[in-house]
């Protein structure tokens, strides 16, 4: 049995959490699955913060990390910190590096590293961290160097942390275990979704996000490496669901709990 908490990444339910009522109902349904930890992402911007706080307290729900809008991270950090503290959430996350950086290639990544440093510093002063969620585009190579490696090597290891995603690592053809090792001690939350395949014209294959247990990712070695490198929470997520997203999450959550219970420390990936 691995000492990792299974959680739900609310991005999967983004269509349902744009109003106060939808948010409260979604949290209730997630809690009903037996899940007591969530990641906030794409929560409706018009929902009052106090309402969100009341709901998570009512359902005794923990918030492990967020994906927060980049503009707020840079321009509204004090309030963002207050909100996270009210939720007991230790890390402000960025879900996707935006085009104002990406479009400038190597220079853009250098600029992001410079710009985020004072944010990381401020979060540390408040006993918090910054968490960078990656897709695959960060693995582009400029001047002989992979940009994801640059993010690892040129940011503050104490305050700049990572959220890796099992699907996007596989999509890039990367060895996920190798990259978990590279960020050991700097990743408390990992995203888990499965990798299913759809056939396209001309024999091309589309890798699609799937419900854990229905695709091709071999989770036991991945989870062992996660546990060994300091991952505390694995949050299930599915970007596109072919059926009711709550049903997908319920199946994935059950499968993840089973995997965590049945996977022993040691062996491959440990």
């Amino acid at each position: 049995m691995l000492n990792i908490t299974p959680a739900v990444q609310m991005f999967t339910l983004r269509d349902y959490i744009q109003t106060p009522e939808g948010f409260a109902e979604s949290i209730r349904r997630v809690r009903e699955m037996g899940c007591d930890t969530v990641q906030f992402s794409r929560v409706g911007a018009s929902i009052p913060v106090d309402f969100i706080t009341d709901v998570i307290h009512e359902y005794d729900m923990k918030v492990c990390v967020t994906h927060s809008p980049m503009q707020r991270i840079f321009n509204d950090l004090p309030r963002l910190i207050q909100e996270h503290q009210a939720w007991g959430c230790p890390s402000v996350g960025l879900g996707n590096l935006e085009n104002c950086y990406l479009d400038d290639g190597y220079e853009g990544y250098c600029r992001f590293i410079r710009d985020i440093a004072p944010v990381v510093e401020e979060l540390k002063k408040n006993g918090m961290t910054f968490s960078y969620h990656s897709h695959t585009f960060e693995f582009v190579n400029y001047h002989g160097r992979c940009m994801y490696d640059m993010l690892i090597e040129e940011t503050d290891p104490d305050g700049f942390h990572f959220i890796q995603d099992s699907f996007w690592m596989k999509y890039g053809g990367l060895s996920h275990e190798t990259y978990m090792e590279k960020v050991a001690g700097r990743m408390e939350v990992m995203h888990a979704k499965d990798f299913t395949m759809m056939m396209l014209p001309m024999g091309n294959i589309l890798g699609e996000t799937g419900t854990i247990g229905e695709g091709n990712i071999d989770y036991p070695p991945l989870l062992r490496t996660a546990a060994r490198t300091g991952v505390k929470v694995v949050a299930i997520e599915q970007d596109r669901c072919q059926r009711d997203p709550f049903a997908c999450l319920e199946d994935a959550f059950r499968e993840l709990k089973k995997l965590l219970a049945e996977t022993e420390e040691g062996g491959e990936g440990a």
């Binding site: 996707n96 990406l102 479009d103 290639g105 897709h135 695959t136 585009f137 693995f139 582009v140 190579n141 400029y142 992979c146 699907f167 996007w168 596989k170 999509y171 890039g172 053809g173 990367l174 060895s175 190798t178 990798f195 395949m197 056939m199 024999g203 294959i205 890798g207 229905e214 695709g215 091709n216 990712i217 071999d218 070695p221 970007d239």
Partner: protein, 263 residues
């Protein structure tokens, strides 16, 4: 010791006539390759005996000849003759084709039945039927099973040998080393490849991926080539479907990396 061959498909634009084909084979040898992975479709304009004599003269071995499964239906004897003429033991039987695959589990049964007949004839001729493992074998069908499981485990295809392809395997999210280990002793050919992320081309979070010469991309080649060698790979073939520079230059870069990996 695993040897290194060039995938002729990479330089298919240079094989249009017999003269060009022979010249291309010479260039491959000059780059330092031990062998070549032929494509039957690229041999159509050439006389087999002439190609065989040329290969012997330049000292280039044929590691395998790729063909389609359809050809086993209309030209099986010709495939075997071609293999004998070119002194090649590994002869491609393609992959499960759409006509079988799209019929689900019942289609797979039909395929296995047909493949069994092919296997028997190949065995009689002393030639290895080489299955080209691609993507769709890892798409679960309505019975929840990978077609790969059936192909690897069923008695009908027990005499199949396997040609694996790193690019295809990584695109299915399976772990290449696990597939290699499962095919231990039955995987004489492994196609090596690498993949990089193209700059500034991301659509709905999907970054564009493209093939590149070995060592220029993101694949964990040391771990995967080691696993392939442990599984008994006799040949590594290198090449690309698409090249971002002159194809022979891509082959040369990949060869250097492959040699380093085989040390």
């Amino acid at each position: 010791m695993t040897r290194i061959a060039a995938q002729l498909n990479t330089v298919r634009a240079y094989c249009g006539t017999q003269e060009r084909l022979l010249n291309t084979l010479s260039r491959i040898r000059e780059l330092g390759f031990d062998g070549v992975e032929l494509e039957s479709s690229l041999l159509k304009n050439a006389d087999r005996q002439t190609v065989a004599r040329h290969l012997e003269k330049i000292g280039l071995e044929v590691c395998s000849i790729r063909s389609t499964f359809a050809r086993t239906g209309y030209g099986l004897e010709d495939m075997l003759q071609e293999a004998k003429a070119l002194n090649c033991i590994n002869v491609g039987v393609g992959t499960v084709t759409a006509s079988y695959f799209t019929m689900g589990p019942a289609g797979m049964e039909k395929y296995l039945e047909q493949a069994h007949k092919v296997c028997e004839r190949f065995s009689q001729a002393g030639i290895r039927p080489l299955y080209s493992l691609r993507f769709h074998e890892f798409m679960r069908q309505s019975d929840g099973v990978w077609p790969f499981d059936k192909l690897a485990d069923r008695p009908e295809t027990a005499s199949y040998y396997w040609e694996t392809d790193l690019l295809c395997l990584t695109r299915t999210a399976v772990k290449p080393s696990k597939v290699f280990s499962r095919l231990e002793g039955r995987m004489p050919v492994c196609r090596l490849s690498d993949q990089k992320i193209r700059e500034n081309e991301t659509y709905f979070f999907y970054a564009r991926r493209e093939e590149c010469p070995l060592g220029e991309g993101l694949f964990d080649l040391p771990a995967w080539t080691k696993a392939a060698m442990q599984a008994g790979a006799e040949w590594f073939t290198v090449g690309q479907e698409l090249c971002d520079r002159e194809p022979f230059a891509c082959l040369a870069t990949s060869l250097e990396k492959a040699k380093e990996l085989c040390l």
